[in-house]
Amino acid sequence: MRNNLSSALFAAGVTFILSFPLMGLQLTTEGVNLIVATSPAATFGYIAAGVLAVFFVQLFKEQILAQLGKAKPRPGTISNFLPTDATRAKLIKPGVLLIILGALMWPFIMERGATDLATLVLIYVMLGLGLNIVVGLAGLLDLGYVAFYAVGAYTYALLAQDFGWSFWACLPLGGLLAALFGFLLGFPVLRLRGDYLAIVTLGFGEIIRILLNNLTDLTGGPNGIGGIPKPTLPAIQTDPEFSVVGLEFTRRASEGNVPFHEFFGMSYDPASKVVFLYLLALLLVFLTLFVIRRLIRMPVGRAWEALREDEIACRSLGLNRTAIKLSAFTMGAAFAGFAGCFFAARQGFINPESFVFKESVIILAIVVLGGMGSQIGVILAAILITILPELAREFQEYRELMFGLMMVVMMIWSPQGLLPMKRPHIELKQE
């Protein structure tokens, strides 16, 4: 008990020092002078309550743990509550079909705002899936993922602005260019230990942002680039002559293109643009999902995971460590490039503010929450993390605080995320 008391006192003291100076006191300016003001009395109440709570929890730690231990075993992950593998296998096909159908129907059932939000979610799904290759499958921590996203976005914005290139020409190019950046960055760093990669990518993200801000002639600096054309739907025209035209979702099309509604002889509906963007994003997400699902089953995908689990064993089996890591890193960057390209097209306006470190952390939070390596988990996490702040505006202020906390808690409680990946496997039945 003595021992407990001193450790409880210590913990309470630590809590007090952690909370009191930063929460209880505030540096503010009064006129021209800087002063230290005290927070409202309620804050002191919270601090005192927190300190007392920590004190008593520490003091009666054993008793509380014993009570909890009696109550129920620690729940591992959500999968414990899900149906067994056999029922899941039966459910999975109709389930996936249902989800695809629902996703396709979404813009026609829901209103415009919901469709727009869903498009944003899809962008994050794409980013999450891409980063999942790097972090979840290959086990490399990439903290500057948003830089590749920026490369994709600026590729399209600049090519469209300066050379009038279309979205469809820029999409693969954006991906390729982002992949090239990933390759060049990964090459020197991936030979080393994983920690270096984390910090170098962190720096790289920051450098890209500084460059975008300062290369004013090229990127427009902090003002960004506006008037980025929306994607068009390619169609085959037969009327004056046989040719391919881009269908635009505006009332009047620009030079060389045809408005969508005129082409099909419908009346103009301003919502059609939003619906088209949503469907395009959905297509890109399905494509991403498909490609990654295939990749996981290919030797390279298996090598990613094997390397994550045991590097030394992999090397002794003759796998080229650098090449495999580089392939994952490059592939992840390419998907960010695609997503960036689409993002620029959707927004119509981009500036460096969209590509700050915070975004990288949000994408990482999606991967971490979803379960590293698990695709369905990442999709669910992307939906959750994007929708939640939209639903509760008050939550916005504390959103980033929560993300940080959530990452710590997830790592301690269940590093595999809410829905860990399951490899197809057969279990040996004990006789």
Binding site: L34, I210, L401
Partner: protein, 308 residues
């Protein structure tokens, strides 16, 4: 000719000033890395919190009418070191200790989460805008011709040199002479063996976080008084640079961190002076990639032997 030399000397002085504070922060990275082989991603935030606490202490004292410099410095340093080291302790306890021994990726992610959490904790509690504090120490010496370019060294810069020198000496003595310092070195050599020999390795690891955080608080106090500006995001860039300094000097080596900090500070101020101010942050990153490319062990680091 004289003018060119003086200009160069001026940049050198500025570079050493910044560099010595980078070195102080870099020590935190290098010590933690030396013992548990991991980067403490939240270290930059500890520095940022140190700056805030120092600002509070100085402002609070001046509100009470106390402006006697030694007292101001003592109170600012002690309070910021106390709070920062508590944060260092908490970071170790929450984001590192429960995760030791697992996959290396996991503590990295939890530390990034921790860093993000602390950044936003300060942003919400203290506000997102910049906080500017009037200089406490003013004046300095000028040298050079009466008319024309004069190089100057401010009293604040001199204080930074002295304070850094004292902290570094104290740390070196502590590591080489004290009982805990010996335990630190033993743990860095072999964690398991040190544990078997009766060293409480948990406490040693916590101690390295605390020492690193205290030095970061010293840097935060000094640099905060030098620049006079703080916000919740300063820890990010400072941490990145200090890490570069640690890698440059050879991560895991204490003299390396000091050397790396100085080299980085000088090259940064030279870039700002002779090329462009906007790109001085790019230099530290470029330097980091170059070192990793050609000499990953840094200047004074030992080659890493992978144990199976």
């Amino acid at each position: 000719m004289l003018e060119v030399t003086l200009y160069f000397v001026q940049q050198l002085i500025n570079g050493i000033t910044i560099g010595s504070t980078y070195a102080l922060i870099a020590i935190g990275y290098t010590m933690v890395y030396g013992i548990i082989g991991m980067i403490n991603f939240a270290h930059g935030e500890v520095y940022m919190i140190g700056t805030y606490i120092a600002f509070m202490a100085i402002t609070g004292l001046s509100m009470l009418g106390i402006e006697f410099l030694p007292i101001v410095f003592a109170v600012a340093l002690i309070s910021s070191m106390l709070v920062s080291s508590t944060f260092g302790l908490a970071i170790e306890r929450v984001a590192y200790r429960p995760l030791r021994g697992g996959n290396r990726l996991i503590p990295l992610i939890s530390a990034i989460g921790m860093s993000f959490f602390l950044q936003n904790y300060v942003r919400i509690s203290q506000g997102a805008r910049d906080i500017a504090m009037p200089s406490v120490v003013t004046g300095g010496w000028n040298f050079g011709p009466e008319h024309g370019f004069q190089a100057s060294i401010s009293y604040m810069q001199i204080i930074i040199f002295i304070a850094t020198f004292i902290s570094m000496t104290a740390l070196t003595l502590f590591i080489s002479r004290s009982r805990l310092g010996r335990a630190c070195r033993a743990t860095a050599q072999d964690l398991k063996m040190a544990g078997l020999l009766g060293i409480n390795t948990n406490n040693v690891i916590a101690a390295t976080f605390v020492i690193g955080a205290a030095l970061a608080a010293v840097a935060g106090t000094l640099l905060g008084m030098y620049y006079g500006v703080a916000n919740a995001y300063i820890g990010f860039l400072a941490g990145l640079k200090a890490f570069t300094a640690a890698v440059l000097g050879g991560i895991g080596s204490l003299p390396g961190a000091m050397l790396g900090g100085l080299i980085l500070g000088i090259s940064e101020s030279m870039t700002a002076a002779y090329f462009s101010t906007e790109y001085k942050d790019v230099v530290s990153f470029g330097l980091l990639v170059l070192i990793l490319l050609f000499k990953p062990t840094g200047i004074l680091g030992k080659p890493e032997v992978e144990k199976i």
